[in-house]
Assembly symmetry: C2
Homo-oligomer: 320 residues x 2
DNA sequence: GATCGTTATGTCAGCGTTACCACGAATGGC
DNA sequence: GCCATTCGTGGTAACGCTGACATAACGATC
């Protein structure tokens, strides 16, 4: 009836009627039921966003940016944590599809076969973020880890470093870290900086600890190392603490570079140099893509798959 | 029809029929539509969880525990970040109510008048968590900040400390911090440890920085301070860094105690003593309460409001 | 004042489920 | 072999909303 129209700003209702309706709504405490609306209009006003871990602040920033942008179009985000496990991802997608989301955002990289089938069958825009799969399902928005590694190495070379190691201290749930490691190895070759020195931080519980252990192993294997890339600012901080324990001056004797531009690195003494990513910008980009895809579809046409890599830039601070 | 029953494990369908149905579902790629289900059954299978900040790992742990527990009953969580702002909270609740959640979890403490009205009118179980409001809307599950402060002070006294300060380095979005501060002041009196020394970390951007600044101010005002409580492990780490800058030995000259048991504190050198909270346990408790309330309601009766404070215990580590 | 165009409001059906009831078949007790 | 009971299945009517269309109201135009 007219109430439905009165609640939609664009629909033609006389100002008088609209006011009457709104007054009645207010008096009765009426709250529209979106289930019914979704059923009728076939628009759930829901977008599913799966992220590998809610404990990773950059994921959360991205998700928030998506959510905030979509909120302006009256679309809500159903946020789901896959914990980086493919079986869980599959289950989550299965569940979430029952709510008929209008788009699905999920980490790129590996998926189970069934996941891919489910997603394709869902017939809604799919956006993979983060690590670029060999063959994206539809749209992809991520970070150019290789160029990021290159930028870091150029920065370190400019600082006179030439024996540069790499500490892989992440649970590489998205495959991005291995891209970063490859970028590191490639850039070393390109810049003629010798053979790669890659060690893993092992299975320690926290990234801080993995960073510290990783640095220890790296220095044991290559005592002359004069700079280190970490895969996360938290492990970079762990590395910083380890360096301090070994009484190695930072950055005089050893340069450290984190990744991600987290709070924790900025406030260390010395502050951690890092490779900065713009998580919020990425989220905004994702939301924009969703909205465009939705509009395109509404007009009956199809949006060509997007394949986009966002920049990573070096934020020089005290540890380099 | 029979399909609906076949999908519900408890309903009486012959094994043969059920198998036939499931096969057909598989072949057709059928995915049930929960909007329709919700409309018909008046059960949305959705619980709204509002938290003040997704960037606070303990909030996230709690939310995850809620989500995991409810998932066993086929209920999903709609996670919303209020950013600690009451106007945003109100708007979020308004939006989320349109989805007819079966229960609403939100931070305790202050709410706008309209928020309280909306929640009451929603006629679903309401659970406030964290900071205890003077008058909870319905159920409340939180942490006994006062007892926590008491436990920390007893710990410090046992270590021979007697000039104990307090650095409030949080954006006190939930009111819990002021409870903690009060508990500190009260326990000081009870234990006869002199007058409170409370300073704020000010408006700095990150908790690390606020912790460092707060400690600096505290020491300027009371140079003989020999132990400090922080309102967060991150600010505790900031304090640790500041102490190091001032060349004050920790814990010989100065004891530091954080709050919350975050990763970052555990991996410092020395590791940060902290007041540990069991966020996951709290989430499980919340979920249990929701399920009980739902079952009680289904049986036609009403669950008496729960008012529960969970323990906080000291985790002694290197800084005390 | 009849005609047209425009805008505002009303009518109706249907979205995909599930609650409820009705029915037929199988089972069991006597 | 009859009735009572249980079990499994099918039919039907909502649930609360919106899209499409029909109609009403209102000016403007001739």
């Amino acid at each position: 009836m007219t109430v439905s129209r009165a609640l939609k700003p664009e629909s033609p209702v006389s100002p008088v009627t609209r006011r009457r309706v709104l007054e009645a709504i207010d008096k009765l405490g009426y709250v529209p039921d979106m289930s019914a609306g979704a059923l009728s209009s076939r628009r759930s006003r829901l977008v599913a966003v799966l992220i590998p871990s809610l404990l990773h602040p950059k994921n959360v920033e991205t998700a928030q940016a998506i959510s905030d942008t979509l909120a302006t179009r009256d679309i809500q985000v159903l946020l789901v944590d896959t914990q980086g496990r493919l079986d869980r991802e599959e289950r989550m997608i299965e569940t979430v599809l029952r709510r008929r989301p209008e788009a699905i955002v999920l980490p790129g990289g590996m998926h189970s076969d069934r996941t891919a089938i489910l997603l394709r069958r869902a017939q809604v825009p799919i956006i993979e973020i983060g690590a670029r799969p060999q063959k994206p399902i539809e749209h992809f928005i991520g970070l150019s880890m290789r160029l990021g590694a290159r930028a870091v190495l150029e920065h370190l070379r400019a600082k006179g470093r030439s024996r540069i190691g790499f500490v892989d201290a992440g649970a590489d749930i998205t495959g991005q870290i291995s891209d970063y490691a490859e970028g590191y190895a490639q850039a070393l070759r390109d810049l003629d900086l010798g053979a790669p020195r890659i060690v893993s931080g092992g299975r320690a519980e926290s990234p801080y600890e993995r960073g510290g252990r990783g640095l220890a192993r790296l220095l044991d294997a290559h005592p002359d190392t004069d700079a280190v890339l970490f895969t996360c600012d938290r492990s970079g901080v762990g590395g910083l603490i380890e360096a301090r324990r070994r009484r190695m001056d930072v950055p005089e004797r050893l340069s450290l570079v984190g990744f991600g531009n987290f709070d924790v690195g900025r406030d260390m003494v010395p502050a951690l140099t890092t490779a900065g990513i713009n998580a919020a910008g990425m989220g905004a980009e994702v939301a924009k893509t969703i909205l465009t895809a939705l509009e395109t579809r509404e007009r009956g046409s199809v949006m060509p798959p997007l394949d986009r890599l966002l920049d990573i830039h070096v934020i020089p601070r005290g540890t380099s």
